[in-house]
């Protein structure tokens, strides 16, 4: 990475795990801080001293969802959630309230690093894209890749980084089906797995933020078991 060491904040009540992950991430070249409860995590996160937060769901006092919900009111800082595996609901709730990605526990730290890098790369793209600034537009929706902004009728939609990338990908192919598999690889940088519903959740968040066409039709259509289409006003 061409930049200075990226700062990561781990929020998990398991102190020993924090120590181990800190050690691993330090070896991988991150600057790591860790806190062991939700309240403190929220306080640190709000100081915006970090580039990314790793947030555990199951914590006493204030759980990860509550922390994320409060954090998202003021900040778009990237968040990767650690969830209990098999608890399908937890994964989905996390994405619904604006996590950038999630990883079920127990996880392979290599996988964690890959997710962190993918999320951070998305943010960095903002800087890199400046030369080849791309302006995407459909009806009243306007996206500017250099500023990574998405505006509807001139008003910013407040998309998270993942949501922005998914919408941009759909908009580039407006009117055509974008396969889930391709979307997963291009945006989430991983192969689509059968039970992975993160794309569906991100799409559902984007839909809420976009609103509907005048006729009450969704702007993004689901083609069941294939993918999604961004529909233009005309069709």
């Amino acid at each position: 990475m061409g930049r200075s060491m990226e700062k990561v904040l781990i929020v998990d009540d398991d102190e020993e795990l924090c120590e181990l992950v800190s050690e691993y991430l330090t070896v991988e070249g991150f600057d790591v801080d860790s806190v062991n409860d939700g309240e403190e995590g929220l306080r640190h996160a709000r100081e915006e001293l970090h580039d990314l937060i790793i947030l555990d769901v199951m914590m006493p006092k204030k759980n990860g969802f509550d922390v994320l919900r409060e954090l998202r009111q003021t900040s778009t800082i990237p968040v990767v959630m650690l969830t209990a595996r098999g608890e399908d609901m937890e994964r989905i709730v996390g994405l619904e309230i604006g996590a950038d990605d999630y990883l079920p526990k127990p996880f392979n730290p290599r996988e964690l690093v890959a997710r962190i890098r993918a999320v951070l790369r998305r943010i960095e793209k903002a800087g890199d894209d400046e030369d080849q600034a791309e302006r995407l537009r459909s009806g009243e929706l306007e996206m500017n890749t250099s500023a990574r902004s998405a505006k509807m009728k001139g008003k910013d939609l407040g998309l998270t980084a993942v949501e922005y990338d998914i919408l941009a990908e759909l908009l580039r192919n407006a009117g055509q089906v974008v396969k889930k598999e391709d979307l997963s690889v291009r945006v989430l940088e991983r192969e689509l797995s059968p039970f992975d519903r993160s794309l569906d959740m991100h799409i559902s968040n984007i839909r809420k933020k976009l609103g509907e066409h005048k006729g009450g039709k969704d702007r993004i259509k689901t083609i069941r078991s294939v993918g999604y289409i961004f529909t233009t006003e005309a069709n």
Binding site: D14, E16, L17, L20, V21, E23, Y24, V27, M58, A84, R85, G86, E87, D88, K105, P106, F107, N108, P109, R110, P194, F195, K217, D218, K221, T222, I223, R224, S225, V226
Partner: protein
């Protein structure tokens, strides 16, 4: 027949029978005197009437007599009247003697009123003396004696009142006895359906009998079941967290170790990593099984395309099978849909499919088909393996059950796959069965289908 109906009808029948018998006895002991009372009454009336008639006859002659007798007709159930002399001549009136039998002679020979009964009428006769001492016979034709109308109506009313009262009392009794049973039955069904908070005590709190005891025992039992299920739920949640935390730490520690090892220990590190993955998988499966068995979690349902689910699973399984010189092939797959939980249905198919791939002989193929039979999707997955001893076939779906000692853990399966498949299929009101085909094992899954909305696999929706 319900207990309520039985108690109600039997008690009612018993009461009605008792009442009926009492009435019958009363009736049979009272009916003779009653008829005699009537005869006395008629006799007395006849005396008065006949003497009046004779007086009128003597004072006013035949015309007066006729007038008087005519006036009597129709009164007090009298059809007709006649006054006769000893020779049988009718002095006055309209009575016909042809049907009177020997009454004429009996009447003349007795000082008491005499009767002659016919099915539809009764003749009565009594003698009367003229002032000169000549004996005449006064005869009446009466409607057949019946209990007076007001009397029979009242009897009917009484019987009705008694039977109705008996009915009401029996109804109350039967419902008093059976309503707590019904409440207990409803509570039992509610509990069976998963609502463990049901209690019957409050509804029966004003009773102090065996049923009230039963109700409080029932409540105690429900309380206990509820707390057991609750603690089981808590336990599974805790297992999920407590067992996985050390696993999570272990995996991170292993990767750190890998980074520091000089390469000699890499295979062992990988081995430990694999085993911890298996342990984690086992925890997941135990959790899934426990959720399915306790019904502690609501699984969301949606419209599923069984064909596309099955085809994607077959493609994956085939890919893995080919690496081991086996294959998975589609025989015939119909386009069917159902309402269900995608994850559970997938898992059921996948577990059976993987089991088949595991046990089919090298170089053979696993055959998969899905057809519609009535309202069911019938999925058959057939391998060409050793099969299962007939007596153990029912145990195949038990958790951690392994057929014989020969079938070892060669694949690292957890021994829960088929058990989970069975529970998952059952939670969708389906069934799963296994049978030996002679050259392998065939597992059949039946699931209720929903009507296909479209034959095309891709349905455009804005879900």
């Amino acid at each position: 027949m319900t207990l309520f109906l039985k108690i109600f009808l039997w008690f009612w029948l018993a009461m009605a029978t008792i009442v009926g018998v009492v009435f019958l006895v009363n009736w049979s002991t009272q009916s003779e005197p009653l008829a005699r009372q009537w005869q006395t009454f008629v006799g007395e009336a006849m005396n008065v009437n006949s003497q009046t008639a004779v007086q009128i006859y003597e004072n006013e002659g035949v015309e007066g007599l006729e007038l008087y007798l005519k006036r009597l007709n129709g009164r007090q159930r009298i059809n007709s009247v006649g006054l006769f002399d000893r020779q049988g001549n009718r002095i006055g009136g309209s009575l016909d003697v042809r049907e009177t039998g020997d009454l004429f002679d009996r009447g003349f020979n007795s000082s008491e009123p005499q009767f002659h009964r016919l099915p539809d009428k009764t003749f009565a006769a009594s003698t009367v003396n003229l002032s000169d001492g000549t004996k005449l016979l006064y005869m009446l034709e009466l409607k057949r004696f019946q209990a007076p109308a007001f009397f029979t109506n009242r009897l009917l009313l009484q019987i009705l009142a008694v039977v109705l009262t008996a009915g009401l009392v029996c109804y109350a009794l039967a419902s008093y006895l059976t309503s707590p049973i019904r409440k207990l039955g409803k509570a039992t069904r509610d509990i069976a359906a998963g609502d463990l908070s049901v209690r019957v005590g409050p509804e029966l709190s004003n009773r102090r009998d065996e049923l009230a005891h039963l109700a409080s025992d029932f409540d105690e039992m429900a309380e206990r079941i509820e707390s057991l299920i609750e603690s089981e739920k808590r336990l599974t949640r805790d297992i999920s967290h407590e067992l996985r935390s050390p696993l999570a730490r272990m995996k991170v520690a292993l990767e750190l170790l890998r980074g520091r090892s000089n390469g000699e220990s890499d295979t062992l590190i990988t081995r430990i990593d694999t085993e911890s993955d298996r342990l984690n998988e086992l925890i997941s499966q135990i959790l899934t099984l426990s959720k399915l068995e306790t019904g502690s979690e609501e699984f969301s349902r949606s419209d599923l395309n069984l064909k596309s689910i099955l085809e994607s699973l077959i493609a994956d399984a085939d890919f893995e099978a080919r690496a081991r010189d086996r294959s998975v092939e589609t025989v015939k797959i119909e386009g069917l849909r159902m309402i269900g939980n995608e994850q559970l249905v997938r898992q059921a198919f996948d577990n059976v499919l993987r089991n088949a791939v595991l046990y089919t002989e090298q170089g053979t193929r696993v055959e998969v088909s899905m057809e519609r039979e009535g309202t069911e999707a019938v999925v058959t997955i057939e391998d060409h393996g050793p099969g299962v001893p007939e007596e153990e076939i029912d145990s195949l779906f038990k958790p951690f059950y392994r057929i014989g000692e020969a079938r070892d853990r060669k694949s690292g399966g957890t021994g829960l796959g088929l058990a989970i498949a069975q529970r998952a299929v059952r939670s969708h009101n389906g069934s799963i069965t296994a049978r030996n085909t002679g050259n392998g094992l065939a597992v059949t899954i039946r699931l209720p289908v929903s009507e296909a909305r479209s034959a095309s696999p891709a349905v455009v929706t804005t879900a």
